[in-house]
């Protein structure tokens, strides 16, 4: 019972690795762009959003 669930969880996780690493990278890229980009224009557009989500700003 336990081994079966462990095995199926492992089997499921190997097929999940590629899509999940892609969604993780995409998410980190989007958050990094909105919250951390040092680009002037991005900073100004996202200014209130950055302050209000407590990202380090300025």
């Amino acid at each position: 019972m336990t081994t079966k669930t462990a095995a199926s969880a492992l089997g499921a996780s190997t097929t999940k690795i590629i899509p999940l690493s892609m969604t993780a990278l995409l998410g980190l890229f989007v958050v990094g762009f909105v919250g951390f980009s040092h680009m002037e224009v991005v900073h100004n557009a996202a200014h209130d959003s950055r302050h209000s989500l407590a990202f380090p700003c300025h």
Binding site: E40, D48, P56
Partner: protein, 248 residues
């Protein structure tokens, strides 16, 4: 690829909805305080300690964007803030759903809500303990140093919460507590001086408003993302352990 497609679709919808709700809440709770603080920003700069790099007399301050493009106050500012909040929501939802699917415990909006609350703790409360939400015109340490501390704290808190919840052995629980506490013992990068022209009560109200609106944002984000992802997954899943409950 359906997992990738499902997560992206659920994250986009959850991010758009909760980002928009957040923007509406912010337009009452936080943005007026930011605008108010901007009136003091000039005074703080004249005092000469609000930024990490000094300029010569004639050099324009380039890190505030007063010389660059910025959205005009009013509707334009609201639209850009809404866009940024929605994008941030989509990004956070992608990270949330990735973690939830990797752990394999996402089932309905309630478990999504739990992940959302964990997201609030990791991305809002924990970094906010060391780096309280700042208003414009407030002194702060070097931006990159603060960003590194913020990201490290969020990551360690997320791992710590995950260990505490999913690895139920005393050793891992101890490790989890160490990870949760470590960034705060290390300490956030602090400014040399805390002098600012921004009144304290303005900052206090701003901090409370940021945490309150962020909590609602994360709760909504997690619940919507969890509900959608579970629905999308169950729609195509023919094999299952037989224990999947119908999701409302």
């Amino acid at each position: 690829m359906s997992l990738f497609r499902n997560i992206v679709l659920a994250a986009v919808i959850a991010g758009l909805v909760s980002g928009f709700v957040l923007t509406v809440l912010q337009s009452y709770a936080t943005t007026p305080l930011i605008v108010h603080a901007e009136a003091f920003e000039g005074e703080s700069e004249e005092a000469g300690h609000s930024h990490s790099h000094a300029h010569d007399e004639g050099t324009p301050a380039h890190d505030h964007g007063e010389d660059g493009w910025m959205p005009a106050d009013g509707a334009e500012r609201f639209v850009y803030t809404a866009g940024s909040n929605m994008l941030a929501g989509i990004g956070f939802a992608l990270i949330l759903l990735t973690a939830a699917e990797a752990l394999g415990t996402l089932n309905g909006w309630r478990s999504g809500l739990m992940f959302g609350l964990a997201g609030f703790l990791a991305f809002s409360l924990a970094p906010g303990l060391g780096l309280p939400p700042e208003l414009p015109g407030m002194p702060a340490a070097d931006l990159t140093a603060r960003q590194v501390w913020w990201v490290s704290t969020a990551l360690l808190t997320a791992i710590g919460l995950g260990l505490l919840t999913y690895a139920r052995t005393p050793a891992f629980a101890v490790l989890a507590v160490v990870l949760l506490v470590a960034p705060h013992l290390w300490g956030a990068p602090l400014p040399v001086s805390h002098d600012t022209a921004v009144p304290f009560d303005l900052h206090a109200r701003f901090m409370a408003a940021v945490f309150a609106t962020s909590l609602i944002f994360w709760a909504l984000l997690g619940a919507i993302a969890g509900a959608l992802q579970t629905r999308l997954r169950s729609g195509e899943e023919t094999y299952s352990n037989g224990a999947t409950e119908p999701v409302r």
